[in-house]
């Protein structure tokens, strides 16, 4: 009997706190908790990461992994540059009007943030960063990796911290374009298995290895931001659309610092990607 009463009371109180939490009434408490805990959390993360590396890799391969990471960053930066060049070429050849828009856009400005935590739940792909609304961060702002590829969108802000929903989150969808063929589609997150590009017209050619970047449609993201690379394409002749598996350019599982694009104003600031 006592157990049933406890379960009912606890459930009732939990529902009340969920309601208060959704209304933002507990945000100051969250901010305080993160302020106190984030240094400890960083310490634990720094201790856990090498252990995880040891478990995942043979000790002798550590240097190789570091080198691989550096090369991956270089490739990511180069691919971002290529994506930008593709876009510029297309703009200069075919889209003079968009070029004017591009020229009219103010110079991009960024805010550097450190990743302080990852969401530990198995259903969300989110990270916490050490910049919040006091630093000018707002929900909907676009977040990039150090290599200038798309990481995600700010989905919740506290005064000193913010949560970023990664592009691999199941709630994320980004209007995107295969740069080589100019084919447009939507890149969505999938549960623990990277990215999927959908709504690719059947009559267009999408090859593995193609570069995927934001298309800018919808106004939530600037155009020509590198997302990743097509790994495989699926879809039979009977299907209306093709699907493609896309590997994110940024190593989203090992992010340490990110850039918040503060100069770009998304069309819907409070919209989760």
């Amino acid at each position: 009997m006592r157990t049933i009463v406890w379960v009912l009371v606890a459930a009732f109180l939990a529902l009340i706190t969920i309601f208060l939490s959704q209304k933002g009434a507990l945000d100051p408490l969250r901010n305080l908790a993160l302020t106190v805990v984030s240094p400890l959390e960083r310490g634990v993360r720094n201790a856990a990461e090498p252990v995880a590396n040891v478990l995942n890799l043979i000790a002798d391969r550590q240097d190789l992994e570091n080198e691989n990471r550096e090369l991956r960053q270089q490739i990511e930066a180069l691919r971002a540059e290529i994506a930008g060049l593709h876009e510029q070429q297309a703009l200069s050849e075919d889209l003079q009007e968009l070029l004017k828009v591009q020229e009219g856009r103010p110079q991009d400005t960024f805010l550097v943030a450190q990743v302080i935590a990852k969401d530990p739940s198995n259903l969300k792909e989110r990270i916490a960063i050490d910049r919040g609304s006091d630093d000018g961060v707002a929900e909907g702002m676009v977040v990039l990796s150090a290599g200038n590829s798309l990481v995600g969108v700010v989905s919740a802000t506290l005064s000193d911290f913010a949560w970023v929903t990664l592009i691999t989150d199941a709630n994320s969808s980004v209007n995107a374009m295969v740069m080589e063929s100019r084919t447009q589609g939507v890149v969505s997150g999938t549960l623990h298995s990277g990215l999927r590009m959908e709504l690719l017209p059947q009559n267009t050619e999408v090859q593995p290895g193609s570069t995927v970047a934001t298309s800018g449609l919808g106004g939530n993201f600037p155009d020509a931001l590198l997302i990743g690379e097509v790994v495989s394409v699926q879809g039979s002749d009977q299907d209306i659309f093709q699907k493609a598996e896309v590997e994110p350019a940024a190593d989203l599982s090992r992010l340490e610092s990110v850039l918040i694009l503060t100069s770009f104003q998304p069309a819907r600031l409070n919209h989760t990607p």
Partner: protein
Amino acid sequence: MRYLLLGPLALTVVLLQVAAAPYFPLAGATANPLLVLLMCWAMVRGPRETMVLIPLTAVFKDLITNDPVGGSVLALLPIVPLAAIRERHLTQSEFVPTVVVVAVASLCYHLIYMVALTSLGEDVPWLDSPLRVLLPAALLDTVLAPMFYLPLRWATTLTESRARLRVAG
């Protein structure tokens, strides 16, 4: 006094879950050390102390993550009724039922959590979740269970025998 020791221990486990567990995934899923600790605790020492620890630790965890505050309390609630299985003495060993209820509690945790997220408007991939979340997470939590159960069992046996000696003396 007892809770002055239990509280920091449980909060440390929360910290480990938030900061360290994501680095040790299995098939994309991560373990839930807090759930395993509380379930083992309830099985070894009875649900009474767990009734205090669940709200304390779950709210703390929600405050430092992006979860709605109170969501983890809901998801951890089944631990208390599940611990009633210890009273039934189904097997000679207490360990086997503990491992089983840890797996069941893990499944319950994620199902309740998914319902909570869905009701809050989040897009939860229900179809993909059995193979990508529920089963790997339950497996990981089950593997983790002995790491919490054995020290807890040992410490509890030790304190109980000391108490008995004190009464006899």
